[in-house]
Point group: C2
Amino acid sequence: MQDREKLDELNKLSKLIRYYSLAMSTAVGSGHPTSSLSATELMAGLMFGGTFRYDLDHPENPNNDRLIFSKGHASPLFYALWAAAGKLTEEDLMTYREFGSPLEGHPTVTFRYAEAATGSLGQGLSIGVGMALNARYLDKLPYRTYVLLGDSEMSEGSQWESMQIAAHYELDNLVGVMDVNRLGQRGETMYGHDLQAYQQRITSFGWETIVIDGHSYPEILAAYEKALHPSGKPAMIIARTVKGKGVSFLEDKNGWHGVALQEDDFLRALRELGHIDRSVKGTLPKPENVKPQAPKPQGIGKVDYPADKPIATRQAFGKALVRIYPRFPAIVSLDAEVNNSTGADQFKGAHPERFFEMYIAEQNMVGTALGLSRRGKVPFVSTFAAFLTRAFDQIRMSQYSDANIKFVGSHAGVSIGQDGPSQMGLEDIAMFRTILNSIVLYPSDAVSTDHLVEEAAKHQGIAYIRTTRMATQIIYSAEESFVIGGSKVLRRSGRDVATVIAAGVTLHEALKAHEELKKEGITIRVIDLYSIKPLDEATLREAASDTGCLITVEDHCAEGGMGEAVRSALSTVTVPIYSLAVRKKPKSGKPAELLDYEEISQSAIARKVKELM
Amino acid sequence: MQDREKLDELNKLSKLIRYYSLAMSTAVGSGHPTSSLSATELMAGLMFGGTFRYDLDHPENPNNDRLIFSKGHASPLFYALWAAAGKLTEEDLMTYREFGSPLEGHPTVTFRYAEAATGSLGQGLSIGVGMALNARYLDKLPYRTYVLLGDSEMSEGSQWESMQIAAHYELDNLVGVMDVNRLGQRGETMYGHDLQAYQQRITSFGWETIVIDGHSYPEILAAYEKALHPSGKPAMIIARTVKGKGVSFLEDKNGWHGVALQEDDFLRALRELGHIDRSVKGTLPKPENVKPQAPKPQGIGKVDYPADKPIATRQAFGKALVRIYPRFPAIVSLDAEVNNSTGADQFKGAHPERFFEMYIAEQNMVGTALGLSRRGKVPFVSTFAAFLTRAFDQIRMSQYSDANIKFVGSHAGVSIGQDGPSQMGLEDIAMFRTILNSIVLYPSDAVSTDHLVEEAAKHQGIAYIRTTRMATQIIYSAEESFVIGGSKVLRRSGRDVATVIAAGVTLHEALKAHEELKKEGITIRVIDLYSIKPLDEATLREAASDTGCLITVEDHCAEGGMGEAVRSALSTVTVPIYSLAVRKKPKSGKPAELLDYEEISQSAIARKVKELM
């Protein structure tokens, strides 16, 4: 009886949700109604079938279960669910995709119930991994994380990265819900309705699998029930569904992906749906009230490096993370199987419970970091600068989730030497500069690295810190202060003939060039532009006006790097700006040979200054 | 007896190869000898066991079997193999990692026997997929492709993308050789020596698997033999190996990854290896002499668009590809499940045998394109511009393989409208500009798109073409010519107060702004900068000097895009350069609303011009 009523209610809810999905997409004339219809029962069953625990008035409640639409194009369904829960009106829904509406074409965090922005496929599961990791290992909360997955997006490698890591960390608080509706955008998926193909793959990756009919509420409810059993394994519900389900002329038909119904088709569809009960409202149980485990901020020690001992900034990064952790106890460290190269091993040693080995799978590492960030953590994500390019799409997407992630790329530039171009980060500054409101820092010695790691931790938002493989001299005293958007004028005189702007490894070359030129009676200004974005426009302007000419020197390609950042900042300052950068195909060799070859070394700088005199 | 001799010879060869691997890394003081030792028998068995067919004096022979070291850090082994084959002297080997030596730290195509540059893990298998696809479906040649894989790199999602596509295309001419030596860089891999874990996963992805002891020649030779049987499935040899094999103090020990032996350890190791027979030489059978199937170039039709019918440049791309194919019969088209959005469906319709659906797996798509490119094809790789960021690492690496790939990114910019930021390509120009010697084209109408697709096909190297979702007016007559590095001055007068530089969708806004301003008696110069890299410096300089001020307008983020390209080209020209670009977090909305919001629309341009007057 109870069951009968429940099913009746769910059936009413799915009708209402289908109506909403169709109505809102038809109203705006775009969107993905058919991809919404296939997952309607799966999602209504989850949210209103008694499984999903959520405090509707407090999305910020840390105990809420989490729901991520990895197939973000099913946004009509996503918004329809919250409408069915009473948190959006039909009028709200009709603002779908309108300029200024929080109901964007693909969910972003402008909508308060979205856990993260999705829409680039194959990213939701990694975000879910981050949230589940947080529940299990950090906050130690009983909330569960659910991820709605499309079948088409299972071809993204990132999914299998997430899959293996979820199994590795035994995340049985993570449930994937796969909407196998057979059809992608332009036709059938690789496996169509062969659910076994998915089951075999997913089982082999260490997950529990539950295969069901994705339109049968009894099967759906039983599956969610089953997925709750603690098994030490994450669970995947693999559901056979029909794209366009509920509307005969859309069902299982190709050519309807991302197509909203015209008015007449919409009315036909409505007739098929039959009576819509607008009074029905989905209810959700509230979560338990458990307090997250959270270490309290403590005082921290001072930056401390002997002035005479060169040390690599990558090592200083690790040491800094250990130093500042007590003040920033939300910090977690993620590394892609190179922690002994990036310096993150020091943090792992000091706080193993807050270090997560993510193996060589950068995409999932960044997605996981986003999930952690959305749950209030401050992830430091480290690998070789070159390999962060692997996760550019995840980095790009994280900006639409208002991520608070710190990226640390080691082995920047040709100065890594013998390992050769595949390991050289030469595009990383350009990549991170494209991210809206990102911070890009490039310290040149251990002291500035240490300070800037602390500044990055303090900053709310996406920050990138670029570190160097080789040991570099200590330039600064420990008391020196460094701020985001700052710079240091390291050499200046009243008769500087040019200003050399450098950062990281090239700053040391610039200082040496200064010495060399000084012996010949030529003085140059040298600026450490450790903050590349934002940058210290005032100091640069002053230098331009004082010296009449600027030379940027960077161990990075000429495009999108420090040189162009300076040019953009000074685009209305009419002094010439020269850029020394990596312009030839790099190769293996000694660091010094490569700096010379690329003309970003001491001698190249000195030569350029003289050429301009 | 024959077998006995063969095994004796192989054993001698593996000793010699081990000696080479150790000697060359010790000589330079860096490199990955232990990762080379684990795969020595696997690779010597392949190359000198009778399986691998190769014309040593003609690496360009299209019938050669292909060998790709996906674990590129095992480069000592790679070079040692060619030395054992007699194609490098011991003296050559001692130049390993030296500046100017073709024997780089990770293989690049500077070394004539390298099929592609590797070193960023998880990329070799996709390159192999491209070569195997070429053999099976294009050149129709009997060569086989072998890929040496590390166990640690199996955690890269890209591997599973390659795996699924190889099975999908039934590439039984592709053989993976997995060197399961248990240890990654900083410790044990996720599965250690659990070969079953790999076998289950790989079998479930549709491959034949052969599990062997990777140091037993009889098992290795039998495995290669077995892998030759046509089964309709690619084959993976999963070999249990020991990292550092052959040197007791290195064997299966953590902490020796990427560490060259010091002189004394090297001598200890040599004593363990025992007598090295430098006279032994590996021999390889020559391949069959089969002629690749290659269509002959033909004449092509002319660009043809009615002047009054707006059409999206993405559609024009597809049409152009069909038009030019007869002249460039090496063209193949690869698309990531969005060919009905990118326009590639037109080519698929016309030449289905040269179109490969790569599903939603952009990394493997680019790796496959590289493999095809290395076999002489001209791949056009298309998806949404935003999603090309998914493959930045593969794009970056392709430059070190001298790739000849044409990337086409559709749905560029905020002008896509309602779908929202996840689908907007806003970083693509910056990304492609970082690639050495890349070409970046951004046409604004169908005619220029058509011409520029042809120019891109003619060009040898990496080119990127950015296309727009919405239909745009035809600006040019079909006879107009477009060149890489060119531009078009569309509006000019003797009294232009500013120059507006635009491309793609913003060019139309600039032209409208020109009309608007003209009504008020203000004239501006308007330049179509359809070639963003390289760019037409002379025309820009002339405009700067004529009008005293430049305004760039782009539907792309402010960093690394057209604005900075112009600033870099004119960095010694002392006129102010203003940039209108996407500077606020974009959202869903109508294209026109978004262009206004980001201040890159007609009215924003007109406003800026007036502000500067």
